[in-house]
Point group: C2
Chain length 444, copies 2
């Protein structure tokens, strides 16, 4: 099996891969076939880094009702080593990468396949692509391996190389200071954090704070009338203070917090926004990590807004004290369980938004009809459309290399890069919550 970066690479043999066996907690690092092109739209990617993600633990713990073995992992950075016959320079009418992607290009794959061509992909809802498929399930081997097959690769992949020679798209970014390890954050957790923030900030119930126009006239929708009528007193400066809580400070929650602060700081300078952010987690170790990362951000990523990191009780108190008892305008719920949703409901104000990106499971939602009616709550649930969020997430990644760029320091989100052989121990460690973000380098 190949152990060095391939020159004339033999892609027909076996590779090393992290594999999971049912029913639970059974990780083995073993030989598996190198994946082959089986559809013209496929690409084969040599994995240079693969992430270990909180949602890998759903499989690991046996919570996903999977009954056959699989190759783990859905956060993938690598290099294209083979392309199906759909890829050639003359392709038109398909996503741009079908004509521009080349063997040797550096790519990031989102954690799900998205074709780029169905209705859902065209309008940006890529996580609900009609061809959607999660990496790391029995039918689609994951990225904690030396090689991975990417279906619908012209839609799914994001090419860093293409950025540098594309005539259209988001070219002209200076990528020279972008660390390789930070790219893994684009595969899932950074876009998911950005998405959590954007869902809240784009909601029409937040528009009055951003635009100084009262609801319902501050939204993007063309107003039917030019006046609010004669009832309301004028908006006061205190009305525009935006208070947002983040519930959950694991790696995704930290990404959400950093992204939120970055976007709010930018709105502060462009629109005079005044804001307050409360980052909540019950675990001291996570709060300390959040604090160390916050301390490392330069001032452009902090802005002038008030910021606090808090335990659950402290978070509730701050949400009340900082808002004269009204509560938060929005809550980003990053955990994926009912305790987190219940906390979000407690700290959100009437007409507030709960932007939930946590992967929720089978328990019924912890609200009754009267709860949600009486508070005029808005909810946005579900999986981040990672591919659609890439350009915005890349902007955040480029600006915030101060915290996303490093490995293994107190103030870096990524704790270590290890060999696949250490997977058994790393899953155990991660399952206990005893470490931060771990990456695998399949070639060491």
């Amino acid at each position: 099996m190949p152990t060095e970066k391939p020159g004339a690479l033999d892609l027909t043999g076996m590779q090393r891969a992290v594999r999971w066996y049912p029913p639970a907690y059974d990780i083995r690092v073993e030989a598996a076939p190198i994946p082959q092109i089986i559809d013209p739209d496929d690409a084969i990617v040599r994995v240079t880094l693969a992430g270990l993600c909180g949602s890998d633990l759903h499989i690991y713990r046996g919570h996903e009702d999977v009954d056959s073995d699989l190759t783990c992992g859905h956060e993938i950075v690598g290099e294209v080593v083979a392309l199906g016959s759909s890829f050639h320079p003359q392709v038109t009418g398909r996503p741009e990468l079908y004509s521009t992607l080349r063997v040797g290009d550096k790519v990031v794959s989102p954690f799900t396949v998205s074709c780029g061509e169905c209705h859902f992909c065209r309008i940006g809802f890529t996580s609900r692509c009609v061809h959607s498929c999660l990496f790391g399930i029995p039918s689609l081997p994951g990225g904690q391996a030396q090689f991975v097959r990417i279906p619908k690769a012209g839609g799914t992949l994001f090419s860093l190389s293409a950025l540098q020679y594309s005539a259209t798209g988001i070219a002209n970014r200076d990528l020279s200071h972008l660390s390789d390890s930070s790219l893994i954050l684009l595969a899932d957790i950074l876009p998911t954090g950005v998405f959590a923030a954007m869902q809240a900030l784009q909601h029409p119930k937040i528009a009055p704070m951003l635009t100084a126009k009262p609801y319902p006239l501050g939204g993007h929708f063309p107003a039917q009338t030019s006046s609010q009528g004669q009832a309301a007193a004028a908006l006061q400066s205190e009305d525009r203070i935006l208070t947002i809580a983040v519930v959950g400070l694991g790696p995704v929650g930290i990404c959400a917090t950093i992204s939120l602060l970055d976007i709010l700081a930018s709105l502060e300078s462009s629109q005079g926004l005044v804001y307050q952010v409360i980052a909540i987690d019950p675990l001291e170790a996570r709060r300390n990590k959040m604090q160390a990362i916050y301390d490392a951000i330069d001032s452009t990523g902090k802005g002038g807004g008030r910021f606090a990191i808090a335990s659950i009780e402290d978070g509730k108190n701050l949400a009340a004290n900082w808002t004269n008892g009204a509560g938060c305008n929005a809550v980003l719920e990053i955990v994926g369980n009912n305790s987190a949703l219940t906390l979000a409901y407690e700290v959100v104000r009437p007409f507030g938004i709960i932007s939930s990106v946590g992967v929720h499971q089978e328990p019924p939602l912890p609200f009754n009809g009267r709860d949600v009616y009486n508070k005029n709550v808005s909810f946005d649930f579900g999986r981040c459309p990672v591919r659609a969020m890439f350009p915005i997430a890349l902007d955040v990644l480029l600006k915030r290399q101060d915290v996303f760029g490093g490995v293994g320091t107190d103030s870096s989100l990524i704790e270590k890069v290890v060999a696949l052989d250490q997977a058994v121990d790393m899953y155990k460690l991660f399952d206990k919550g005893d470490c931060g973000k771990i990456l695998f380098n399949p070639w060491i």
Copy 2:
């Protein structure tokens, strides 16, 4: 007690009122004290028309845990007969009506008090005013009476008279063809219908259909980047077809449908929108009423979109057939029970919106975490901020006098205007669902 329109009116005696006694189904038309000014911000209104509303039935049936008797009703049109000391022409820094409202003015009251001065009122979330109070509860006698006290009247009331002499606000409307009976619709059900439609249409997940820009860049939020990157194929015309279902065709549902069609028709001409609306109700009588009203609308209120009125099964089939199986972009849920929410979930597409204005009660929401995560559903719940929606609802009311203006025809929403003395029978009839919208005239 007074039975004629007052000249020099004695406001100190008794009046006739519709009163409810616990535990349930006990309506009596009896004498009650004429309400008095008890706070400087109060107005006393001579009620010219009062509506019987679906949510009066929650009290009637004993579902609201109320244990003392009360004066019913929360839909109020009338004429100001007395004003507290807060009202005088020199008032500044308060809602405009504190300086402009006069005895004799024609007014509509929303179904809840809103001060116009707290944070929630100033930003337009008037239904969650810190002084919010529903008319028709033990502590605030309702409008099915000859007189009613309006707290915080300078914020709560909407003055039709002020519209005609206001220097600011939404003046210059031609109100000459506005029927008196149609004004009662402004108190609750028409703004609630407009709100249901606006919540859906203003949602950022609908922006791609309205703006032809893929998510997340079509919203009102300033985009961080100017491009979607290289993944997606261009939007096609079919991507912009907006399909919306309305669940529930009682009076509010009919208002929601008419408002939705009106707004969509206007977007069709201004932005080239293509749309489809499916109005769903299990009851044939309600579907027939909806059809008769739809037939009576002139073409400006219908636009060129596809429209169908359907039973539940037909509605599900249309939602699939009209969208190639994707489902509806948004569902307006106007019923307020779990069957309606479940139907809304079934017919909404991934990344769709459920805009719920139904008054939900204590049962837990009929979704689990996996349901809402896997479909990326967005929900907006809660009570319409009627006062903030008035200007937009008045525009719809003025345009749609063809269906809202009449009484007692097949194509009118309002079925009859009756005396208070008929209240016992009318509550019984309305409780059985055997009639449309009923109004009381307390002076006949």
